[in-house]
Amino acid sequence: MHRFLLAVLRRDLTLAARRRGDWLIAQFFFVMVASLFPLGVGPEPAMLARIGPGVLWVAATLASLLSLSRLFADDHRDGSLEHMVLSPEPTVLLVLGKSLAHWLIYGIPLLLIAPVLGIQFNLSWEAIRVLEISLLLGTPILSLLGGVGAALTLGLRGGGVLLTLLILPLYVPALIFGAGAVDGVMAGTGAEAHLSLLGAFLVLSLMIAPWIAAAALRVSLE
């Protein structure tokens, strides 16, 4: 059982390493969306610091959302998804492995880039620290919920946009708690409450999302 999980993980990581281009593009997308906002909103440092956490959280959401639309799509197109589903292991493990791989590949790098963008938005070190913690808790939620969306929209025309539409509403709590934690520390009201709510949401997603995603995957393949 854990051998299957490891096989899925290793496979997805190997594939990501082969397609370094795709991976880099996703990271750059994050940087670019975050950089668009100052261009639209204007360059005053105080204003940027104020909206910074929100913008970074929204940008991180959009960046990992876009890569999510290909979570199962590539494997579906070349037929290997069917082979994986036809393996003697439970589909839940497959979904869990792929979500985990997605988080390692697309979530973790966001954590590494976010501080640089935080500096561009004039955030304080303390705010950046909390931003990191909140992203650490929040990005796996996106990978898990995104797995559900990706399974539901598998093979549909315009799947990417539809996925966004399905997942964003579910994801709103994470966004509110996450950006709220950073806002809290900047406003001096502390971040603990927000962070623990975020953690609870993560545990909840971990317990529910893979099962729903596995069911959705079987339905989409019918």
Binding site: R11, R18, G79, P88, E222
Partner: protein, 216 residues
């Protein structure tokens, strides 16, 4: 292997709001080939997906060794391999890596020497280091066949395995099927092309209402 058999009882299949077939019954024993034939859009692919358990029937059931497959999914999938219209070959991996991951995902341990021997037997000896992206359609199909052979399972379900293959590849495919059947395996296959399968028990199943002349 000897008592393995696949049977179908009162099977019905609907896609969209159209009933493709109903009351289908057959039994396939080891060493036998089932050739599923029918005109375009009559439901051959749909039937094969029912047999794999990827989709579930409108009515009736599919049984493996006498028990419904949905009650023993994992045991059934450990003895069955499916090759669909798509190959399941990753473009970014080379043939050997493809076999390794295919084995890993099926819960088997990969034996590199055997994998390479199989690839060479299929005429891919010179492509071992190339990513599958640069292989031609026929060569990629052969990688998928190598995975099928390595799986070492009893039941093969093949959906138009000959599409786009050249005459040499078709001959190779025929001999592989013959060997598998003679070793006690079972095959369910669809095709629109003629197949040369002498010395093999071929059962024919016509799906749909369009008359199709004998091909094999």
């Amino acid at each position: 292997m000897s008592d393995a058999h696949l049977s179908v009882h009162d099977l019905a299949c609907a896609r969209g709001d159209r009933l493709l077939f109903k009351d289908m019954n057959f039994r396939l024993n080891s060493g036998e080939l089932l050739l599923v034939q029918g005109g375009n859009g009559q439901g051959k692919t749909s039937l094969l997906r029912l047999l794999t358990g990827l989709s579930s029937p409108e009515d009736g059931e599919v049984r493996w060794r006498g028990d419904p497959i949905r009650k023993q999914r994992e045991a059934y999938h450990a003895e069955m391999a499916y090759l669909g219209h798509a190959n399941g070959v990753k473009d970014d991996l080379n043939p050997v890596e493809n076999l390794r991951f295919a084995d890993g995902l099926q819960g088997r341990v990969f034996d590199a020497a055997r994998g390479i021997a199989t690839l060479e037997r299929l005429g891919l000896g010179r492509c071992l280091d190339l990513p599958c992206r640069v292989l031609s359609f026929g060569q990629r199909r052969r990688v998928a066949l190598a995975a099928l052979l390595l799986a070492g399972v009893t039941l093969w379900i093949l959906d138009e395995p000959l599409t786009g293959l050249d005459v040499h590849a078709v001959a190779l495919m025929e001999s592989l099927i013959r060997d598998h059947l003679n070793g006690g395996g079972m095959v369910v296959a669809t095709t629109h092309q003629a197949l040369n399968l002498e010395g093999v028990t071929v059962r024919r199943l016509l799906v749909g209402k369009v008359e199709i002349p004998e091909l094999a």
